[in-house]
Symmetry: none
């Protein structure tokens, strides 16, 4: 793995373990096994580093969300695919998921960065799905962003419960959860 990746991974690890505010360069270098100057070959400063990690996480999640997505499948199939992917991403990459969740609305992440496209248009895909569902009279009429945020909140809460080991999430339970989220936005 490249030094740059080492550093980004160590950053994500440390943020997960101790929170952004207690990530110091000293800890970072030790964890990433690089010399103290090395980071400056790749990142201008700490803020830049964190932003890069954020961007990479967002891009990764954006890509992950669309895995196996079939635009011609039924509404529920499409919903299920997207939200299962979201859930699975959170299960496999808890550090990235939590980092995105925690910092997307913090002042540390600039507005423009927050609103930046993740390169996979996953956000637009979800929006389209919602609008489509509303047109068909299946999904409740409401601001599509609001609806998106609602779904995200549900999935996100489920994951947080999973993270603290409140319950296991096997295939059957995942299915139940997705269904539960689906019900929340039906007319």
């Amino acid at each position: 793995m490249s030094k740059k990746e080492d550093i980004m991974m160590a950053t994500l690890d440390l943020i997960h373990e101790e929170g952004l505010q207690s990530v110091t360069f000293a800890k970072l270098f030790k964890r990433a096994n690089v010399g103290s100057g090395t980071i400056y070959n790749y990142f201008a400063n700490k803020e830049d580093l964190v932003n890069e990690v954020y961007k990479e996480s967002r891009t990764h999640m954006g890509e992950y969300l669309l895995q196996g997505y079939d635009a011609h499948a039924s509404l529920y199939e499409r919903f299920k695919c997207l939200q299962m992917n979201r859930l699975r991403f959170g299960m496999h990459f808890p550090k990235k998921f939590l980092f995105i969740d925690s910092y997307s609305f913090s002042p540390y992440i600039s507005t423009e960065l927050r609103n930046t496209d993740d390169g996979y248009n996953s956000s637009k895909t979800v929006q389209d799905l919602i609008v489509d569902g509303q047109r068909q009279g299946i999904i409740k009429e409401m601001d599509s962003h609001l609806c998106h945020q609602l779904i995200h909140g549900i999935i996100s809460s489920i994951l947080k419960g999973y993270y603290v080991n409140k319950y296991p999430l096997n295939e059957e339970q995942i299915r139940q959860m997705i269904e539960s989220a689906w019900k929340a936005i039906l007319v």
Copy 2:
């Protein structure tokens, strides 16, 4: 207003504007219009100050949640009252709500404080409601703390979108969201 209150308000303001990790005492003293030594008359150190602000915010929210609560109303009425209060608290006191939401799990907030009662038993009230609903077979069977977290997560997610101006939140939309959160926990 007392010096102590000045300091706590300035702390909350700065955390909201720049994030906990970039709140320095220098900024704090300037904003609160007090001398740099003054804080040590009221707080043992920075961590203590932040914990005090956290405690005050939690107490405030706890009190707010129970406004107009009628223990004898129907299950849904009680749910609606509590969650509407939660949503309204978030709308009226964004700094406090976000601070609680963002830092409840940060290492900066001591564990004992995080689990402490807010002085209004609002937490217990919500738990009781959930257990009651499950006993009646209306609310899905799951750990009651987890269920509480699920509801909080939904409301929180919606508020965050609102904070960054993704959408407005009028009476109609508030009603919809409470309903959706309700549906999400039904059997």
Copy 3:
């Protein structure tokens, strides 16, 4: 003496001893007997500190040059007064004189700072003297700034010889040097 003065003096000393480029804050703090953070209560950074020292030196010299100056004395008397003061300043404050001499034309000192008034109009007094002398037909016709610079170069060279102990400078010798400089600009 104030901490600020301690720091400025130590700065001047170190620049004199080792040159600007090898003045580090570590040396500075040790020499000035202050804590490492203290400097930042007075100066924004190293450049700011050096500029302040430069300004103070210039102001001091500007004030010194006009000591005992009588605008109604004869041309030569006035010339003698100004240049003797210049020479005496250099003899009593070698560090300041050399610092001004070395850094006035270095890229470290911004053009605007170099051209800044020293607060005593000593520069203008010299210019006026030259123009007056030229009007009277005593001083050679030439650009007055050029003439000023010429005189400065002579005095400055004499001082540098003095600094390296090439000769003593008693009253009689000072008189001779001033006379020598005077001859250099006569018609």
Copy 4:
């Protein structure tokens, strides 16, 4: 041009633009368009590089000073030739002149290098001229090195004013300055 020359030129340029103390290898490599390791094929380290540039500048000036010098001309003619060459060198090669002037006494330039012959005996030529003039009773009695320094100081001072655009230096003014410098060392 060879890599070595590229590096030396870039060094001189950067010293002129920002001062020795802020010339970093990073800037140097970029300016000279070479890889960061390349310099170590030609110079042992930074100090060595700067000393090489210094030596080259001194040699160039030494050669320049003797242009058109006629050992059999009159004392004043010889003086004029040498000092005009000095002035013209400064006008045509400001970077080299200033570098020599500014850093001759800096701790960065090794003492032995500073006192080293420039390869053209220009220094000895000036010394001889002075001693000759003193023997003839034309030039003031003083240490010949000091006299040399006095003359250099005058020329240098004039050039510095010229560099910062205080005044132009045309043929007439050059002639005047040489004459003034001459007068300054007469008995």
